[in-house]
């Protein structure tokens, strides 16, 4: 037993060495997930200020107009340029600004009957209606404020907003648990299936069977390697998310690791079922892709499933990657313990059992 353990340790060490020397395996299971986190992290790292670019042409020189102009510039969401009407129109046409605002010459001017009514004109790009409408709403509010000031009408309706303490979660908080889940799926299915099949087809596995070590140890070593790499990936990805992109890990790292461990076991069972069944890579690749590809999009790893039709949400509820990414996400984002995600854990274990039984039934050493 102790001797076997020693052999197992040595086989695992060799298998880790082989993994890290296999450039394409490292690329797909380590580099790509890290790149995904960095790319999505950078793309979503803005706080929203200056995200709408507007150009203001002030044709009036009244105090009211000046004040209006200053108010616009003080709004954090806007990045404001002061341009002539034709310049601004040109830029809007080229899509360089989102909204053109024109304050007319008579804006804020005093006529015989006091203040003259004036209309602020805004043009926005038809192709970007959302940005245009958001900007329009904000400007509308500013105009109302000015109206209220000028007319001195009593404020009948008030709007009071109170800050509620939230975890202020951003897209990175949603995304990262999904990427961890994805990485674990790739590690379990692709990395194991292809490594094992190459040992099988090359005859390296056969050579191992001539030694006194029972070949099951080889499977354990392969699995242990993926578990260790998977756990390492959880820590690396969380580290990049937390320190690089302000991700919030509300739950405990330990619970994340336990959840990831269970997920690794589940996908390893898938991987071994494919590896044990397939004669060569050409048989394994389509099956592995058929299993992983739909889950990539349907499990909610990258974006929430809320927009799916109800029947699709119900089906995708039961996918192993859904269980894993939802469980990881709830631990990370809501800070819940393992008991709260026991449904996800149970789901994963049932999948592990199903694919484990299939693996045992279809497994061929040669």
């Amino acid at each position: 037993m102790k001797r076997n353990l020693q052999a197992l340790k040595s086989l695992t060490a060799a298998s880790i060495k082989m993994y890290f020397r296999n450039v394409s395996a490292v690329f797909f299971t380590m580099v790509i997930p890290i790149l995904l986190v960095v790319i999505f992290g950078v793309l979503n790292s803005g706080d929203g200020s200056g995200s709408i670019h507007i150009a203001v042409t002030n044709k009036s020189n009244t105090e009211v107009a000046k004040s209006f102009d200053t108010t616009l510039k003080s709004i954090k969401t806007f990045k404001v340029d002061t341009l002539s009407e034709s310049e601004a129109r040109d830029k809007l046409g080229k899509g360089k600004i989102d909204l053109q605002v024109i304050i007319p010459a008579d804006f804020g001017a005093t006529g015989a009957a006091g203040l003259q009514p004036g209309t602020v004109q805004a043009y926005y790009n038809q192709g970007k209606p959302q940005t245009g409408q958001t900007a329009g709403l904000i400007i509308n509010q500013v105009v109302s404020q000015f109206n209220a000031k000028v007319t001195n009408a009593p404020q009948i309706y008030a709007f009071k907003s109170t800050a509620v303490k939230t975890n202020n979660l951003g897209y990175i908080d949603y995304l990262l648990p999904g990427i961890i889940a994805l990485t674990i799926m790739q590690l379990g299915i692709f990395s194991v299936a292809f490594a094992f099949i190459s040992f099988k087809t090359s005859g390296a596995l056969r050579r191992l069977q001539a030694t006194p070590l029972h070949p099951i140890n080889f499977l354990i070593a392969q699995g242990a390697t993926r578990v260790l790499i998977g756990m390492g990936q959880v820590i690396i990805l969380l580290g990049i998310g937390i320190y690089g992109f302000n991700m919030h890990l509300i739950g405990s790292l330990f619970n994340m690791l336990i959840m990831a461990f269970i997920g690794t076991l589940t996908f390893l069972a898938f991987g071994f079922a494919i590896a044990g069944w397939a004669k060569d890579e050409n048989q394994a690749a389509p099956v592995a892709n058929l299993i992983t590809f739909p889950m990539l999009f349907l499990s909610g790893a990258f974006f929430p499933r809320d927009a799916f039709p109800t029947y699709l949400q119900k089906i995708t509820d039961y996918m192993p990657l859904t269980f894993l990414s939802d469980g990881l996400r709830r631990i990370a984002n809501e800070g819940v313990g393992l008991w709260a995600v026991s449904g996800d854990i149970l789901g994963l274990l049932i999948w592990a059992l199903i694919s484990g039984v299939i693996a045992i039934r279809v497994f061929k050493w040669e």
Binding site: S10, L11, K17
Partner: protein, 254 residues
């Protein structure tokens, strides 16, 4: 442990794959220190016979005793005592020769000196190479080195010289003789008759899943002549291979 003089006792073993009877009752014994050759055309059942003896394939009927241990009952105990070179030797990718030998040592629970083993098979300067970067002859020599990590009682070499050039083949003969001189028993299969004649103390000729003749090379030739065999040509004093070796030298080309 008392040394058994007969290292290998094979008694009437049979193996069928579906309807095909690959091995139809093979029996032979190999004495300690012997080099025993199994010859025969492709499909004669040589490899299946070896794999049953090595504990890598189940035996339908009959029995195999290796160093006094029954293979069918204790295959792992047998595997600890033997060294096996498979016909298509392949090793883990991305590990160099030293790492591979160490790994094999660990699988046998032996702490080994990889460089000593590599020196034995003349591959010292390839220590940091990967198995896939070796030439055919080097790969076979390395493959033999992996069979020696556990200081086996008997090594099984399945067609170790197939596909090698004459220089590499002769080099491998020297290695086999060296292994024998260390007291290790060798069971070898080959398609080359002159190789069997040079290396083997005794030969079993297999055909169609059975042993059709078993004796020393000299006696097998005698028996043939007694049956009235007339050589087609007068026996040449040298062979074409002798000419080839004379012209190209004995030096290894890999």
């Amino acid at each position: 442990m008392a040394k058994v003089k007969t290292v290998l006792k094979v008694k009437n073993i049979k193996k069928a794959y579906g309807d095909f009877q690959a091995v139809k009752g093979v029996s032979f014994e190999v004495a300690r220190g012997e080099v025993f050759g199994i010859l025969g055309p492709n499909g004669a059942g040589k490899t299946t016979t070896l794999e049953m003896i090595e504990g890598m394939r189940s035996i339908d009927s009959g029995s195999v005793m290796v160093d006094g241990i029954n293979v069918a009952e204790e295959p792992y105990k047998v595997k600890e005592r033997i060294g096996v070179q498979l016909q298509s030797s392949s090793f883990f990718t991305n590990l160099n020769l030293v790492e591979l030998l160490k790994l094999f040592g660990d699988l046998y629970h032996e702490s080994i000196h990889p460089m000593h083993l590599l020196r034995e098979v003349n591959l010292e300067e390839k220590a940091k190479s990967k198995a896939k970067d070796l030439s055919g002859g080097q790969r076979q020599r390395f493959s033999i080195a992996t069979t020696l990590v556990n200081q086996p009682v008997v090594v099984f070499l399945d067609e170790p010289t197939t596909g090698l050039d004459p220089q590499a083949r002769r080099n491998l003969w020297d290695l086999v003789k060296q292994i024998q001189s260390n007291g290790t028993t060798v069971v070898i299969t080959t398609h080359y008759m002159e190789e069997a004649e040079v290396l083997c103390d005794r030969i079993a000729i297999m055909d169609d899943g059975k042993i059709v003749a078993l004796d020393t090379p000299a006696k097998l030739i005698d028996q043939l002549l007694k049956r009235g065999f007339k050589p087609r040509k007068s026996i040449a004093k040298a062979t074409l291979e002798d000419v080839f070796i004379d012209l190209t030298g004995k030096e290894l080309r890999d």
